[in-house]
């Protein structure tokens, strides 16, 4: 056991693993890039719809159940379905595995973001928005001045949950030939190199934790009641 961990340590210390397209920096960059693009795309699609439905207090229950159906489909299955389909399209600057993984990751990221943003706005005390309207705020002013700031921590929590899930799952891209930290896991399996598998897994786990901590920090920064909580301490 100690021996094995020593080998992992050595693996991380080996300069060969820090350069080239199989090097840690390169794979980390691909991993983060694919994750970030997926989360950003999911946010652009899901958040405005969720915010709008929450603001108008309409059709939300239906949307939430639709989104939850999406949640039940495993990413592995989605990649399996979309990879053969993407083969039918012309090659792009990105490998085919990129797009299949991208689609699966967008699908993975949307539900937590949608549900959090929707409930974050929907759960605001109706008396509060009524008072705001009663003061003479327009619908847009209620949205930007009351609903969005108050829902922001929950919206951010949704983004954080989605991002952590995506960072962990993007690992699967290596299965369809798109490089990420998952490359170590899949290549390691193929080569029966358990040190490489372990090192890849460890790198993904560390990246997930860093993502969680960073976005958790952002979440606290956007808390609209932060000035009050700071004063209390």
């Amino acid at each position: 056991m100690i021996d094995f961990l020593g080998q992992v340590w050595d693996w991380f210390g080996d300069p060969a693993n820090w350069t080239g397209n199989r090097g840690l920096p390169g794979l980390l960059r691909s991993h983060v890039f694919l994750s970030a693009v997926s989360v950003a795309t999911a946010a652009v699609v899901a958040l405005p719809v969720a915010v709008w439905l929450g603001h108008t207090r309409r059709g939300g229950a239906l949307a939430v159940s639709l989104v939850n159906v999406g949640r039940a489909i495993p990413s592995f299955g989605l990649i399996g379905v979309f990879f053969p389909l993407t083969l039918m399209f012309e090659p792009t600057s990105r490998p085919l595995g990129f797009w299949a993984t991208f689609i699966a990751m967008v699908a993975l990221a949307m539900p937590p973001m949608f549900v959090n943003a929707y409930t974050g706005i929907r759960e605001i005390d109706p008396a509060l928005t009524e008072a705001a309207r009663g003061m003479g705020m327009t619908g847009r002013q209620v949205l930007t001045g009351v609903e969005l700031p108050l829902a922001l921590p929950l919206v951010m929590a949704g983004i954080r949950n989605a991002a952590v899930a995506v960072v962990a799952t993007v690992t699967l891209s290596a299965w369809v030939g798109c490089s990420s930290l998952g490359t170590y896991v899949f290549v390691g399996f193929a080569q029966r190199d358990r040190v490489m598998v372990f090192a890849g897994g460890l790198a993904v786990a560390l990246l997930s934790i860093v993502t969680e901590l960073t976005l958790g920090g952002v979440e606290r920064l956007v808390d609209p009641l932060r000035p009050m909580r700071r004063r209390r301490r």
């Binding site: 509060l128 327009t138 009351v146």
Partner: protein, 362 residues
């Protein structure tokens, strides 16, 4: 100032209207309370005035303008609005909350700052509270901020939906009293919804009693409603303590006061006994140059000068502006069976149970 003509509201999916062809005219400067059982449409009526709820049919005018002809948000900036849940923005300080409408109206910073200071003083909020957040205030303080926010842009009309319903009874009474005083000073037109008939008759210069489905049963001055309920519904709604409620609205000064068995401390014991006999009283009130000292039991009035006696204090001393209801309470709880009244210039007189009863049966 506010005119409702044949206003009807039917909520989607409801089989009966919440408000049915209600007509109500609220003159400028009046304090009108809307009161009735739940389901009487009082809150719906209020919220149709600032278009939080849109009427199904009929016409509503505020200051001579049809509310349906105005942009809702512009209409609302010219009408103060206070609700039971207060609805302060939790992520804004007290100061920012009070400044809400002036900011929407685009006032400059100095003017807003001056106005906020003025408003917080008006509703009795200390300047130290301005930097706090709503969650750091008590319920009573929050509603003071709610009132300050509603008044900040100096709207001629104030709509209030059970504004003091969520605070404890002691604070509520304070706030009611303060708000009534505030209204007297500011001369706003107020529409005030409550389910509490006591609050309705105490606060309102006019009371509108609504029945289920938004039917107006009676609309009059509170004294008039209590003295002459229009129908069975109104008398049942006023309840069994109608007489007491009327007394609550009448000041002690409106009743005739008796001088009672009272003498100046310079009187002789013989004169004192003569006064007690004339009133059939077993106690004697003592004055010192018109100032009320207290009372002594008849048995203590002997031969020595009255100045040597040690008078007991009257437990309750009323002022002329206190209500007859308080006077009645003083009568039935005091040892002397009277309510003594003292004004700026000293002793005014006293009321006994017969006097109070006379007032109520008149």
């Amino acid at each position: 100032m506010i005119r409702l003509e044949e206003v009807t509201k039917v909520f989607p999916g409801a089989d009966r209207p919440a408000v049915s062809s209600l007509s109500l005219h609220i003159p400028e400067g009046e304090f009108v309370t809307l009161v009735g059982p739940s389901g009487c449409g009082k809150t719906t009526t209020l919220k149709m005035i600032n278009r939080i709820i849109e009427p199904t049919s009929g016409r509503i005018e505020v200051g001579g303008r049809d509310v349906m002809s105005m942009e809702p948000h512009l209409l609302r900036r010219s009408i103060g609005y206070v609700i039971q849940q207060v609805g302060l923005l939790p992520h804004r300080t007290v100061e920012e909350n009070i400044a809400t409408v002036p900011r929407l109206l685009g006032w400059d910073r100095d003017r807003i700052e001056r106005r906020v200071a003025e408003m917080s003083e008006l509703v009795g909020l200390g300047a130290d509270l301005l930097e706090r957040y709503p969650a750091e205030l008590s319920g009573g303080q929050q509603q003071r901020v709610g009132v300050a926010r509603a008044l900040a842009a100096d709207p001629p009309v104030l709509l209030m939906d059970e504004p003091f319903g969520a605070v404890d009874p002691i604070v509520r009474e304070h706030l009611q009293q303060e708000f009534k005083d505030l209204w007297r000073r500011l001369g706003k037109t107020v529409v005030f919804v409550t389910h509490d008939i006591d609050e309705a008759v105490r606060m309102g210069t006019r009371v509108a009693i609504l029945n289920v489905g938004g039917v107006l049963e009676q609309y009059d001055r509170p004294e008039e409603i209590l003295a002459n309920p229009a129908n069975d519904f109104v008398s049942r709604f006023l309840g069994e303590e109608r007489g007491l409620r009327r007394l609550a609205l009448m000041p002690v000064s409106s009743a005739g006061l008796d001088r009672g068995p009272v003498v100046e401390i310079t009187a002789t014991p013989e004169e004192a006994r003569a006064v007690m006999d004339a009133h059939g009283s077993d106690w004697l009130g003592l004055l010192d140059g018109g100032r009320l000292l207290g009372w002594v039991p008849a048995a203590e009035v002997g031969t020595s000068p009255l100045a040597d006696l040690e008078p007991r204090e009257f437990l309750v001393i009323l002022r002329p502006e206190d209500s007859l209801r308080r006077a009645l309470d003083a009568v039935v709880t005091s040892r002397t069976r009277v309510a003594v009244v003292v004004g700026e210039q000293g002793y005014l007189g006293m009321l006994d149970i017969d006097r109070v009863a006379e007032e109520i049966t008149e």
